[in-house]
Symmetry: C2
Subunit: 533 residues, 2 copies
């Protein structure tokens, strides 16, 4: 099943899942004759979460579900017609609502495939198309990509901490609404979790589901032993016993007795679950009890406010835990519950006109935005990523040895000649090549250390943004969550060890193509003049 | 409109929005002949979030939407039929799936009306009905009530910090999925926000929507002045100008120029918006610029990573800010993104049998659960809450002066005679009275200081849990979000000042009826025996 039911369900009013200011801006664009000007926006984050060294891109499949066929319904338009300004006047004129009725969101979207490691300043998606349509999409794109990328990243960190042991995601009860929970379960799986407790997410995205029983099962019986025996009798194929309802080690002994009985019936006690207390000490004691009972094959599952840091500590302490249940701290990204992704205008042009490239400046040079129509080139050697280079597809591609995959594809909106009087005007888009452009610029600049331009290193080069929508039509088939998860794990293996550290991670180098850097500096100087004029 | 569209949309697969272990437990209950035993669960949290002194109950309206008519669809059952245990065998037998097909969730739910201040150990909802049905509902109830109560509480704290100035909620782009964002916007409004930017939430729940323009509007023009003029021309009735795209105070001056032009056309510049920098210094300078231009009526709206603590600090520093835009930190409850609500079995009985009351024990006496079929009695004097008393509706109500509202109503499942041999067996349910029961016990115990039983103080007494579902039928009409918000603000005014402090808040006293306390101690001692036996 690739039809994502939630997406279908949402579609009716999805166009309203945006901030009001996107609609007031769209209205003002429309009145000012700008609504159909062609715009380019990039969705980027500026700072890595959790003190780590990477993010895992996630959410593109949901973007595909939600954007395809997006329209304002009559019901939505009636709602908007009733909105008023503070002075009681109508907020939107009927003519603008008629514009919205006809709006088809005929945009181009290029995005990072799910499971791709991504770093600050790199677009998770690039959106190109009519200004008003691009603007309205800002909020849903941010909602989807900010959160799913955050949770996939948290899951990947947890997977690294568990050193390949399976992680079960149990977070639905602490998630932000049911769909928040569904999104979290999906992203956690893409990020490396082995399974979820969330049955709806399991059904929608074909994610393995896992679970056995809770304290309330044990509390239904007068005695824990009876509770365990009854559960084992009812579920002999899927028997994980939660042992901490009363006294944990007494519970383990009772579970071991049940495990021995199961063996005589030809079944096996799959695992015990520890959910509280000092998990290192308890797991060692539990292991001994199980081993003494001849239950070497019975695993120990641990849960209870776990995250990557606690898992890493328990592993350092040698806790004989086999499987990790992670809930609240994963599904809410507890220690940093938001990725600060932003969606910024980078280029604009009138019909038949030339590209006006744009920046928003900040006192912090790293926080100023990057103009152009960007692509991310990753340079690898032996599969290991060396560095990334952000380049402007309005320039020729930087000279690197080869670009085997995911060349940016046609730029259907790109055209128009050079008009040297225009602000930031540049040469028309040069179609990307699968071979490096002879004589193309090959220097790159580190934003954190701009004094020293460097040559683009030789290696296998790949442009990461792939075409997803063209004029509103889906041209990409997002891989199922299972395949995206494999992609995550393959890429995590290849990342340099320093970048994967849970804390104090090394900075993975992201450069700007020198021409893009110089354009940005030119635009920044111009606007600093504007600011202080 | 009271039909909540999202709820309708979700309903198709809603019964699967639960943890797998609820279904494996339901299956094991069914096999063990327990599925139709009558159970009582309470959903409580144990610890107040954000270092504060109260929570605001929220989410009951969503519970009403989601539970009404809940069933497993054929499609859901087909999915469950395909699930396998670790050994490859079928997880659920066809006979159990047939049980699920017939399951009608014929439960009783009693809940705290939205906008009610609520404290640790007090049930947000009490669920009574067939054990398997109650168990499956655990996860969606926790998901809904944990998150909405958390965000409503955060919003109430923000409202307190802003001392009655309007707060606009802007959090959709950082929320957890679109429905996470819709839930957050609804809860933020119930908690005291004046409006949201989230148009979908505005439509679904009749919440005022607000918003004007973003940086990208300004970036579409070569000059900020032109951007402001064009926006003001397009939206003269709803003109709030964002002034920090380039240089904030230059931006304010340009906005003031546009404001002066608007006045000559008979309009008014509603506000300027500051979104970065030191908001205290900038707002003072901006106020001077606006006043010097004769724009005393133009307000200052501030945004940018605000929360209750920053707002309180800006107010202490005398920042002349009129309206507060709060996004990420509210919609994600950034400093504590999960409320640790749990859902615990408190009583159980076989058909025709007596109630077996239940506790889960913990080394920390406060963390042990509370048995019975609970009700929360709030004692007020002159409207001001003095204390709450948790009492067991299986006992007679505690003697307090009057119970004017929300008596617990009929207990349709309650019946059956005293059978003294049973564990925790008690007298059959005494129907609640609107008048205090003569001679009813009137002592209460503080869990934090159990040595000193106290008399229940005289005052106006109200039992807070109201009947919401009876045997699966909705018997409650949840007030619209606007009315729930009024309830929040009225109750916040009445709360003691110490309880409302943002940090180091006073503990609001919550007592146990002495009989309930003694029952709990009896059951705890029994299970400690079980634990150490």
């Amino acid at each position: 099943m690739t039809a994502h039911r939630l997406a279908q369900l949402y579609r009716d009013s999805l166009a309203l899942a945006t901030d009001l200011y996107q609609l007031t801006m769209a209205c003002a664009y429309w009145k000012a004759g700008l609504a159909e000007h062609e715009a380019v926006f990039h969705l980027v984050f500026r700072k890595l979460p959790f003190g780590g060294g990477f993010c895992v891109a996630c959410g593109l499949a949901t973007v595909c579900d939600l954007l395809g066929g997006l329209r304002f319904s009559q019901d939505d338009l009636s709602y908007l017609a009733g909105l008023t300004a503070p002075d009681g006047s109508r907020l939107f004129e009927p003519e603008f609502l008629d514009y919205l009725r006809r709006l088809e969101f005929a945009v181009d979207v290029d995005g990072l495939p799910e499971g791709t490691p991504v770093f600050p300043q790199e677009p998770l998606v690039r959106v190109q198309g009519p200004l008003a349509a691009c603007q309205i999409l800002e909020t849903p794109l941010l909602t989807i990509l900010n959160f799913q990328t955050l949770v996939a990243t948290k899951a990947a960190r947890t997977w690294l901490a568990a050193e390949g042991q399976p992680i079960l995601e149990f977070g639905l009860r602490r998630a932000q609404g049911l769909d928040g929970g569904v999104s979290a379960s999906r992203a956690a799986y893409v990020g490396g979790c082995a399974a979820t407790s969330n049955v709806l997410a399991g059904k929608l995205f074909d994610i393995p589901v896992r679970g056995t029983h809770a304290h309330s099962w044990v509390m239904c019986f007068d005695e824990e032993q009876e509770a365990f025996q009854t559960y084992a009798a009812a579920m002999p194929h899927n028997c994980v016993l939660l042992v901490d309802t009363y006294d944990t080690l007494r519970g383990v002994q009772r579970a071991a007795d049940v495990g021995t009985q199961l063996e005589t019936r030809g079944y096996r006690l799959s695992a015990i679950r520890l959910d509280s207390g000092d998990l290192a000490t308890l797991s060692r004691a539990a292991r001994r009890i199980l081993d003494d009972a001849g239950l070497q094959a019975t695993q120990i599952l641990a849960s209870g406010d776990l995250d990557e840091h606690l898992i890493a500590e328990l592993k350092r302490r040698g806790a004989p835990i086999d499987t990790w249940g992670v809930g609240t701290r994963l599904a809410t990204a507890y220690d940093q519950p938001a990725l600060g992704g932003v969606y910024k205008l980078a280029a604009l042009r009138a019909p038949g006109g030339v590209w006006q490239q744009r920046v928003k400046i900040s006192d912090d040079p790293v926080k100023s935005t990057i103009p152009g129509i960007q692509q991310v080139r990753r340079i690898r050697r032996g599969g290991i990523p060396l560095c990334d280079v952000l380049w402007n597809t309005l320039d020729a591609p930087p000279a690197t040895s080869d670009v085997p995959h995911a060349a940016p594809g046609r730029q259907p909106h790109a055209a128009a000649g050079l008009q040297p009087h225009a602000v930031g005007a540049v040469a028309p888009h040069a179609a990307p090549r699968s071979q490096p452009e002879a004589g193309g610029p090959a220097a790159m600049v580190d934003l954190h250390n701009p004094q020293q331009p460097l040559p683009v290193p030789p290696g296998e080069a790949q442009d990461l943004l792939v075409p997803v929508f063209r004029r509103g039509n889906l041209v990409y088939e997002p891989p199922p969550a299972r395949v995206a998860r494999q992609q995550t794990l393959r890429e995590l293996e290849r990342l340099p060890a320093g970048v994967k550290q849970l804390a104090n991670a090394e900075r993975y180098p992201v450069y700007l193509d020198q021409r893009l850097y110089e354009l940005r500096e030119r635009l920044r100087r111009m606007h600093q003049g504007e600011g202080s004029a």
